[in-house]
């Protein structure tokens, strides 16, 4: 530490002023002008100002991905509006840690100030409420996941929608046999008939359905959230369709379990716009 930049402690001020002859000729440098204490001080203040302004201007950049909704994320149960959620979350990851099926993951810095905020990728691993106690809400220290919610039925993180009705097996009158998501799927789901307490790999559960109704039978909420109804005016006899009801909490199990690729039914966040 030497030369113009040092703020002039007695010990270091002269240390770097070696004659350039001691250096190899190839790295010949311009001789540095010695700055007065006042000049040093002025430069230091200028650098400090630039650093402060730079860091401050950097921060609004974090708004871009959020405002443009580049990543509309499904938040964990108890999130009340994207705006409130992102502002309140302290990015500690306690919800990530307590989830028994590891449904919650972190957003990365490409999501602006949503960086390190938790979300659920339901197609990969939905929230199946197998904790029975809304563990993530209990773990949240800030109320970003609101403590006002006591039961899973009160959750409103998203809403299921039949996004691709054309490929829906039930609407074609078709059944489904085998593992819902093929042999390579790593997601887990709690099948209460198999194990009341623990989720098991979806791949270990074989289905035998005359008409495909996986999204309906596996819904942790039940009839108030989704029902299988007769499909009026269908060409195929016996064709049915899933119908989403008001009680849908947006857990994402229907999206995870849908055997078609891509999923016919998807869960979309119910979030509001972010305030600026």
């Amino acid at each position: 530490m030497s030369d113009e930049a040092t703020n002039g402690t007695a010990a270091s001020a002269g240390a770097g002023e070696e004659p350039s002859a001691s250096r190899p000729k190839s790295v010949r440098r311009k001789p540095r002008r010695r700055l007065s204490r006042q000049q040093q001080r002025r430069r230091q203040l200028l650098r400090s100002g630039l650093a402060a302004v730079g860091l401050t201007l950097l921060q609004p950049l974090a708004y871009l991905p959020v405002l443009r909704r580049l990543h509309a994320r499904l938040r964990p149960p108890g999130a009340q509006g994207e705006d409130h959620f992102l502002g309140a979350c302290i990015k500690c990851g306690q919800c990530v840690q307590v989830c028994p099926v590891e449904a919650i993951t972190f957003a990365d810095i490409d999501e602006g100030f949503g960086s390190a905020a938790p979300f659920v990728d339901s197609r990969a691993q939905a929230c199946d409420f197998s904790c029975d106690a809304l563990s993530c809400i209990l773990a949240c220290p800030t109320g970003a996941l609101t403590h006002d919610i006591r039961t899973k039925e009160e959750v409103r993180s998203g809403l299921a929608r039949l996004a691709r009705p054309d490929t829906c097996l039930a609407r074609q009158g078709s059944g489904f046999r085998g593992a819902a998501r093929g042999p390579d799927f790593t997601g887990r789901l709690r099948y209460e008939a198999v194990d009341r307490w623990n989720a098991i790999p979806v791949v270990d559960h074989r289905y035998e359905r005359e008409i495909c109704d996986l999204c309906v039978v596996e819904c942790p909420i039940g009839e108030s959230a989704i029902q299988l109804m007769e499909l009026a005016g269908a060409e195929t006899p016996g064709a049915k369709t899933p119908v989403v009801r008001d009680g849908c909490v947006g857990c994402g199990v229907c999206e995870m379990i849908c055997p078609q690729q891509p999923a016919c039914i998807v869960v979309e966040p119910r979030s509001e716009e972010v305030r600026v």
Binding site: T6, V27, S48, A52, L55, Q59, I90, Q94, F113, P141
Partner: protein, 319 residues
């Protein structure tokens, strides 16, 4: 050196020279006149001696173990410490970083009770252990920055880089700016940039793209400004620094044997706290190091005359 004066120095003022010196200190200063040769010999001896890293190694050990505890708790699901350094539960007790909690409260216009409990717990903890001891004994960015600092020192010795210090007051400005931004925007923008949180999460949950930002800051420190984030920006360190003077564990300077050769100030992250080690400055025979001190022990390790050491207030020489 009053408490208030120490705080002013932490906030960015150039350390003030004490106007009065105690009689004892006066005698000690007097005895040191004309001992330049002795100091020169001491410096020569130091160059030959094997470097002592007792406190640094202990500290790095603690830092690595604490951060691994978080990681292991997650991977083995033992629920010892859940969360990360911004907020966590230790055996079920809330812990929360004080400045991060403040930002959340400002952004939400609401103070979550768990964050109050967590912050008070942490304030008590660092009030007992030693203010910015969080920085040097726990913070993973501190370790990374120390390694970067070593690289910077080598490059500087080779004449390839030059340190460009900023004004220490920048840290206060940023502390206020981050808080103001949280208040007006409703979002904790600082937490996106906070290398402490990014690294802590990376250690626990695995790497992320956000590490590129940390690398950028580290790169800036290596080639342009030594220890810039910790010295001139980090509001977390500044917050814990305020607790420094209350902590019983602190570094104490003893004037008597000091050779004033200044090795301690060269290794110190916050060398303004060691201003009294400059020849003729110390107002007393024993002086406690000021609030910005991180209790890292580098000065204790390097001091050739054992004039700087840890002390526990009220327990005398037990440490």
């Amino acid at each position: 050196m009053s408490l208030l004066g120490d705080y002013w120095t932490m906030l960015g003022r150039v350390p003030e020279r004490s106007k009065s010196r105690s009689d004892e200190a006066e005698v000690m200063h007097g005895r040191k006149r004309g001992r330049g040769l002795e100091v020169a010999r001491l410096i020569e001896e130091m160059a030959g001696a094997k470097a002592n890293h007792k406190w640094r190694n202990r500290r790095w050990g603690v830092l690595i173990v604490v951060n691994l505890l978080f990681t292991l708790s997650y991977w083995l699901d033992v629920q010892l410490v859940e969360g990360s350094l911004t907020a966590s539960r230790f055996l079920g007790f809330h812990m929360a970083d004080v400045y991060s909690s403040l930002l959340v409260a400002l952004a939400q216009h609401h103070v979550p009770i768990n964050l109050v409990i967590g912050s008070v717990t942490v304030l008590l903890l660092w009030g007992l252990i030693g203010g910015r001891a969080f920085c040097s004994w726990i913070c993973p960015y501190h370790l990374l920055a120390e390694l970067a600092e070593m690289l910077h020192a080598r490059l500087a010795a080779a004449g390839l880089v030059v340190d460009h210090p900023l004004h220490r007051g920048t840290r206060v400005v940023m502390w206020l700016l981050f808080a103001l931004l949280a208040l007006v925007s409703g979002h904790t923008l600082f937490l996106t940039l906070n290398p402490v949180g990014i690294l802590s999460r990376a250690v626990i949950y695995g790497p992320s793209l956000a590490l590129l930002w940390v690398l950028l800051v580290i790169g800036f420190e290596i080639v342009y400004s030594r220890r810039a984030w910790c010295r001139y920006i980090c509001p977390i360190g500044l917050t814990y620094g305020a607790l420094g003077p209350f902590a019983p564990i602190r570094i104490e300077y003893k004037l008597e044997a000091c050779a004033h050769e200044g090795e301690c100030r060269k290794v110190c992250e916050v060398s303004h706290v060691l201003d009294m080690t400059i020849k003729g400055r110390s107002p007393h025979s024993h002086v406690d190091v000021g609030p910005d001190c991180t209790r890292c022990g580098l000065c204790v390790d390097i001091c050739p005359t054992k004039s700087l050491d840890f002390k526990m207030k009220g327990l005398g020489d037990l440490l």
